[in-house]
Symmetry: C2
Subunit: 322 residues, 2 copies
């Protein structure tokens, strides 16, 4: 096993598709081997340029990402894509999607596309996706794209690892005001108005631009708006140009280092929180105390906030005694 | 202040709309008065029947909820609606939505509709919504509807408090496979196929029914599928009938008590986790140690998992010393 996993890390470094694919599966399953591999490969990371892509279902993100991948391949760059898709194993959404997506890059080892369907608990998804991005980084991919379906807190955490984040919107899909959830405004470096051949696209873009003007610039950058029709490969070059402009505007090594450090600070806090959460859920409440407390609340003898306060102090006492 | 808040609880019990509205705002803002009111009112809760409604943006949930509210009003029941909408304060999404929705129930004190736009951290949103539901319960609403936009983990947590959960889908909006995220399958008691006048509705419903058959029944209940056209008030009576059938199937007081206890167990674990998370984020890492660790990771001197392990043990030592 050891000899085979050593070999494994070597193969990943060399960009071997099957070895990478096995490692992503190991990450997804929380396999201890995955952590060993990641620890070993970590010093090789930090070279890939990471693009985050998020937006609601049905906005055409997958097609857009596929176009971007083709664009970068044409420039001779290697590309890795991690699509976080919490679709049910039940409906086979993720696997099916992968097959369809891979078809357009069939036979090209320079593109690695993989969905991850792990749902995990709070923040678990984001951590899994970030680990997979590190893996592709270590495997030598020049560009790593993190794609995520949806606009919830989980999804926003997924793209936070990216150097540059695209938020994909579609004119006329649902209520556009609903699409502009608070968190999205804060993470978008570039808004992509996809399916820009819809009739109200110009109007939608205009409203979007006027909203974007109100966002305070981050590091001197005001979010850009780019129109695409991904299914016809229109606007992809424009989009790549804006991504490049963003990259150049943030090329200062000092800024990059500061961002990287900030990112890892948050990552570490979250990782420690996760460990504590796991400990609280699994171990500390096996006793009767939680059950009795819940019973007291359910029967309205005790209010839940008081019960939580009491449980919390019990926990503190236990920690000090251990 | 004290006299006025005592009076406040009294007014809430009596169903006073302005008092309830002020209390929801207090809950949203994390105002300490809110906790005091909730502690005071908690013994009065546990009487409302709670319906959760979730689904992606653009599925017509708000209209559907408005129709359901009208249906229950016609039966002489009072209704409270908490719509969790993490729209930006920026775009004013929540407030605008409320105004439009309230118009159809104007002048009827028997319906209380309110959006909550608090984003909060992990689980914060769900807890805020659950507190608001308790408030409406204490205010004597017979039916409390918890509506949430989206299908992420946050949203699923919001509806978990409900006695019966509706998942709203629309044929032809985006990829229907994507709509059936894993978590939704686990929480749906009734699937509502809204906008059932779309041409592929029959086909969509058929596929949905065949998938639903594969779900293992929970407490002897297999999720039902109901077709509606909320904008034309079609199918609402059918839906209400299925909700009533669900209610009767789960009327056994033993089952209700067991559910209630299980819910509060999870609630308490989460509440304690939240307290610990806040403590970790705010207090324990003000020192140089986190910054140094992040620096070591950013410069690839240390891998992040090892750094997290080290931070975690530091935390344990601190707790034992305090």
């Amino acid at each position: 096993m050891n000899a085979s996993t050593d070999n494994w890390a070597e193969k990943i470094r060399a960009g071997d598709v099957r070895a990478i694919s096995r490692a992503v599966t190991a990450i997804e399953n929380g396999d201890p081997d995955a952590q060993r591999i990641l620890r070993e490969l970590f010093p090789l990371t930090g070279r890939a340029w990471r693009i985050g892509v998020t937006g609601a279902a049905g906005t055409g993100k997958s097609t857009l990402v596929s176009c971007l991948a083709a664009h970068y391949r044409a420039q001779g760059k290697t590309v890795g894509v991690i699509a976080v898709d919490p679709s049910s194993a039940f409906t086979g959404g993720a696997i099916l999607g992968d097959r369809i997506r891979m078809q357009s890059h069939a036979g090209d080892d320079g593109v690695f596309i993989r969905s991850m369907a792990t749902r995990g608990a709070w923040g678990g998804l984001a951590q899994t996706a970030a680990d997979a991005a590190l893996l592709l980084d270590a495997a030598g991919k020049d560009i790593v794209i993190l794609e995520t379906v949806g606009v919830g807190q989980d999804e926003i955490e997924v793209v936070r690892v990216a150097d540059c984040t695209l938020v994909v919107l579609v004119p006329g899909l649902g209520d556009e005001v609903q699409s502009l959830k608070a968190g999205l405004m804060e993470i978008a470096d570039i808004f992509v108005v996809n399916k820009a051949d819809y009739e109200d696209a110009a109007n939608f873009e205009e409203r979007l631009v006027s909203i974007v003007q109100l966002v305070p610039p981050r590091d001197g950058w005001t979010p850009k708006v780019v129109r695409t029709v991904a299914t016809e490969e229109k606007g992809i070059a424009d989009l790549a140009r804006e991504i490049e402009a963003f990259r150049e505007a943030h090329a200062d090594p000092g800024i990059r280092r500061a961002h990287e450090k900030e990112y890892w600070k948050n990552w570490l806090i979250r990782a420690v929180q996760q460990r504590v959460i796991k400990e609280i859920a699994a171990a500390n409440f096996e006793s009767r105390i939680l059950s009795d407390m819940a019973q007291a609340v359910a029967s309205r003898e005790k209010d839940p906030h008081t019960a939580a306060d009491e449980l919390y102090s019990t926990l503190g006492r236990q920690a000090r005694q251990s």
